[in-house]
């Protein structure tokens, strides 16, 4: 076969096209890119702005109140005339409610996920998962009143001497609130474990439970830890439920049956009141917010290192 002449050598053929980008297309690309960039920058600037304000106001706060008082006082009374600034009071309440919520949500959530992933028929799974996700969509203020008006009376009937506002009720209900998150995300992680791994175990004579406990959960471990950590962050940051059900009296206690005030509940209390701008009370909410921010940051860092250490790779 001989080489044919180029088609554009024929008379009337269109002119050869240049490889240069047409101007119109270049402009269009530019116009598409700009809003995308702006959208990305909005979230970055917001984050930077929040951190900057937190840092600035916290700095101001520690100008007036020394750090050691913040860390060592055992009372929290910035709104009274005799002021104490022991963050440990609010921190203990946050830890108490979050820990209680974890005790409820982690085992239940993991068991629910194992059930959904390994035991439930596809029909049951299709029905249950959306219900769980609806549970995640209930406004937290509804949960708060559920805790105060439904759970607390039950607790009071079961355990005499339980106060109207108490940590246990809030912890239980936060646990219920984050349960769908734990189970749904854990189930996703388990569903991603290859079927071949399960079949290998079944073929060795493993029961369903052995497959779940010895193959699926270890293989999905990193995803499950990620679910747990997200849930803990949610519990630590939860505001409405604790503000409504746990009370607003800062008390340094380990008892779940008395009124307490968490870090988030304190911020709400001050923000809703008529605290003048720039006053010391006003600055306390930034100091508390900073402490809360550091707490969740520490949780995130901890979860990253846990993930890095325990990751089980599978093909």
């Amino acid at each position: 076969m001989t080489l044919a002449p180029r088609p554009d050598a024929r008379p009337g053929a269109p002119q050869r096209r240049s490889l240069r980008r047409p101007l119109r297309r270049a402009l269009r690309e530019r116009f598409v890119e700009a809003p995308l960039l702006v959208a990305a920058l909005v979230s970055i600037f917001t984050t930077v702005g929040i951190v900057a304000v937190l840092v600035f106001e916290t700095f101001e706060f520690f100008h007036e109140v020394p750090l050691w008082r913040f860390l060592t006082d055992t009372q929290w009374t910035p709104l009274f005339s005799e002021k104490y600034f022991g963050i440990v009071v609010l921190l203990s309440a946050t830890v108490l409610t979050s820990f209680g919520a974890m005790v409820v949500a982690l085992p239940l959530g993991l068991l629910a996920a194992v059930y959904l992933s390994e035991y439930a028929s596809p029909g049951v799974r299709r029905a249950v998962k959306p219900v769980l996700e609806i549970l995640a969509g209930i406004p937290t203020v509804v949960y708060g009143y559920f805790a105060l008006l439904f759970v607390t009376p039950i607790l009071q009937a079961l355990i005499p001497g339980t106060a109207v506002f108490n940590g246990a009720s809030a912890a239980l209900v936060i646990g219920i609130m984050i349960l769908p998150m734990v189970s749904s995300l854990s189930e996703d992680a388990m569903a991603a474990v290859p079927r071949a791994l399960r079949e290998g175990a079944y073929a060795l004579g493993a029961t369903r439970f052995e497959v779940a406990a010895r193959v699926v959960v270890p293989a999905a471990f990193s995803g499950i830890v990620a679910a747990f950590m997200l849930a803990i962050s949610r519990a630590v940051g939860e505001t409405m439920i604790v503000a409504i059900a746990a009370g607003q009296s800062p008390t340094l206690t380990l008892s779940p049956l008395v009124p307490i005030e968490t870090m988030t509940a304190y911020i709400v209390q001050v923000s809703l009141g008529d605290t003048p701008y720039g006053s010391l009370e006003y600055k306390t909410i930034f100091a508390v917010g900073m402490a809360l921010f550091l707490l969740t940051l520490a949780l995130n860092v901890a979860s990253q290192s846990v993930l890095a250490r325990f990751r089980e790779e599978y093909p």
């Binding site: 079949e199 290998g200 073929a203 493993a206 052995e210 790779e313």
Partner: protein, 289 residues
Amino acid sequence: MVNDSASLATGLRSALAALSADRVVARVGAAAGADSAPAFAIRGLSLWYGHFQALRDITLDVASRRITALIGPSGCGKSTLLRCLNRMNELIPQVRIGGQVLFQGEDLYAPQTDPVEVRRRIGMVFQKPNPVPKSVYDNVAFGLRINGYQGKLDDLVERALRRAALWDEVRDKLRQSGLALSGGQQQRLCIARALAVEPEVLLMDEPCSALDPIATYKIEELMTELKRDYTIVIVTHNMQQASRVSDYTAFMLAGEDRAGALVECGETRSFFTNPRDKRTEDYVTGRFG
């Protein structure tokens, strides 16, 4: 004893029924000499995934301590048939099974049969090596542990790895991840894992399809070695492999409605050189499939 004679009776009855219905009865077990009792007697086995029939009326004997190869084009149901032999299919929802599979005279699908016990005695090796993301040692010990072996497993692990012709290659890597081994080593690790629990049968679902020729050769050599103690059923795409390693060959083909059926089976020696069925001849001579 009572149970034995009862199951023998049902076995005989179904065998007679099969004969009178003029089905393709594969009496390969009868030719096996000393081990004349078949390991598996499959009688009129059908299987449905929902409304789709994947297997139709399969009747086949599988000889004890021999290698039986299941061959056929993709989608003919040979893997499905293999998975009926250790009840792996019922892990898939909406599977229905009709007919009988007798293992040493016992009905695998009887209500009182425990699928966990079935799978412990009938081991399986899969198409893709599937070690768990744990150490070589733990992979082999896994089956032992779930079957309740206590105490020191070292000797049992070593024995299983030796049997799978892997010991010399991994003796210094027992604590390394099983996934760090090569594909062929991983597959032998899976064989070792299956052998560790002392099964009576080894089902192999295209065990070499993900391996290179040298690894394939090692696995085939191993199979020939293992058949002295184990009944082996292997599904393979590769007709050369079937003719190299197997004693008996069964050929399956999907019908018009895509339901897999048995076409022909017999001793491998005559199967490839002297097929009785025209479709078998077309397949083994490479005219389709």
